[in-house]
């Protein structure tokens, strides 16, 4: 089956391993993800100002182009999922807004597209049971901590992805592919998100240096909670969470005595490994990570 796919800007650069592993695992499971024609950045963050209609133009243009090809659109970056699904919700809730944007874009979007996260696609169009039956490599000795973050969970009224306080969808998939999934109390806690751009401005903007160091502290809280439960890997879906949780670890190690580094990977990379795809292809190396995941995978994955 062919289905529309929106990768988003980060997946073509920093998160190339996410893009490649999503497309290849879909193919291995019998589906082809076809990129939306002429796509642009979705805006990366959904504008929370009710009077900002302009910010809806980019995501609605993407939705309109995807609608021409079908009823559903798959995306995997948690940021893109949040923006596209909220924009879709906003124009469906307010026909006047939809008309205004359609007039501006000179397009005819009817609001009828369904935005799916790749996890939802795997659950509803493939089935976790079926995936479980196709597993080729044994991951049972890898302890994984699924981390959801904020963007794909909240606001629940609009996204309706999973329980906003106790999500299980990624846990279920990782269990289906044979990982040893651990629960930890910070799987829905924020990593600090875009505040990461302030991290080298802290001294001038904030005399106490707190806002700039916020991402390190948030990341430390999350990683330490996962480590205490014995996790070998933290698994996620968002390139921004990936950057924050991965790149801050050398600094965290300096700041917090006893902290031990823990590699961060995307769920789809683990899925690719489990399905027996060529592990070398999905950026599971020190070039794409501050904390190299290849050691854990080499030690714990058996053919």
């Amino acid at each position: 089956m062919k289905i529309g796919y929106f990768p988003g800007c980060t997946l073509k650069t920093k998160a190339i391993g996410l893009d490649d592993s999503v497309k290849d695992t879909a193919r291995a499971l019998g589906h082809e993800l076809v990129e939306v024609p002429d796509w642009t950045c979705c805006g990366a963050t959904f504008s929370l100002a009710a009077d900002n209609v302009m910010a809806l133009a980019a995501p609605v243009r993407i939705l309109a182009n995807a609608r021409k090809a079908g009823d559903e659109l798959v995306t995997v970056c948690a940021g893109c999922y949040n923006v596209l699904k909220r924009a879709n919700f906003a124009v469906n809730a307010d026909p006047e807004k939809l008309k205004k944007i359609n007039d501006f874009l000179e397009m005819e979007y009817d609001g009828g597209l369904k935005v799916l996260h790749y996890l939802e696609f795997l659950r509803d169009h493939v089935g976790f049971d079926k995936i479980s039956g196709l597993v080729k490599r044994d991951l049972s000795t890898i302890k994984v901590a699924p981390y959801y973050g904020c963007q794909m969970l909240r606001p629940h009224e609009e996204l309706a992805f999973d329980d906003p306080e106790a999500p299980m969808m990624m846990d279920d998939l990782l269990e289906a592919i044979g990982c040893d999934v651990i629960d930890f109390p910070h799987k829905v806690e924020c990593c600090g998100a875009f505040l990461t751009v302030c991290s080298n401005l802290e001294a001038r903007k904030d005399p106490e240096g707190k806002a700039g160091g916020a991402v390190n502290e948030c990341s430390y809280t999350i990683l330490e909670a996962a480590r205490r439960r014995g996790a070998d890997l933290v698994v996620l879906t968002c390139p921004l969470c990936h950057y924050n949780l991965d790149s801050t670890q050398p600094a965290i190690e300096q700041q917090h005595f006893g902290f031990k580094q823990i590699p961060i990977v995307y769920f789809s990379q683990l899925l690719a490994v489990a399905l027996g795809l060529d592990q070398e292809k999905y950026a599971l190396d020190d070039k794409h990570h501050c904390v190299d995941p290849s050691g854990v995978l080499k030690a714990k994955v058996s053919a």
């Binding site: 988003g8 980060t10 963050t45 751009v197 916020a214």
Partner: protein, 139 residues
């Protein structure tokens, strides 16, 4: 916060500032009854001088200058944990965005300038961080 002396008048409490924040955010800040669940669950309070519910209180009381001067509006990462737990259904992240918008929209008070980001940072940051950071911090 405990040392802040606030002079309240009816004009401030039912004034233009509350109306403007409500209009931009699409929320009604006066529905908040100050239970503090937002602040209890906020993952970033360690970096705040005023807690999220205290900023809401400043807005409720029409204290424009104090609310807009609070660093809390720039520390909020819009993670919506507060909104998920608010018993009154107030979306605090929208209120924070409205306060940031009031500061940013004149275009003279950008919180982040691209030229201040080092080349190293620009090479390292994912696009998603740059785009969302600029949208949140630049007018």
């Amino acid at each position: 916060m405990s040392q802040t002396r606030v002079r309240i008048s009816r004009k401030d409490v039912r004034g233009e500032f509350v109306k403007r924040v409500n209009e931009i955010s699409g929320e009604n800040v006066l529905t908040c009854y100050q239970c503090g669940r937002c602040s209890a669950g906020c993952p970033l309070t360690f970096a705040m001088k005023e807690l999220p519910n205290q900023v809401i209180r400043l807005v409720q009381l029409g204290q424009e200058e104090e609310a807009l001067a609070s660093d809390t509006i720039w520390v909020c990462a819009s993670c919506l944990a507060c909104h998920a737990r608010c018993p009154r259904g107030v979306d605090l992240a929208k209120v924070m965005e409205a306060l940031r918008s009031i500061k940013l929209r004149p275009g003279t008070d950008d919180r982040l300038k691209l030229e201040e980001l080092s080349k190293e940072m620009l090479a390292k940051l994912p696009q998603q961080a740059l785009v969302s950071g600029l949208r949140k911090l630049v007018g």
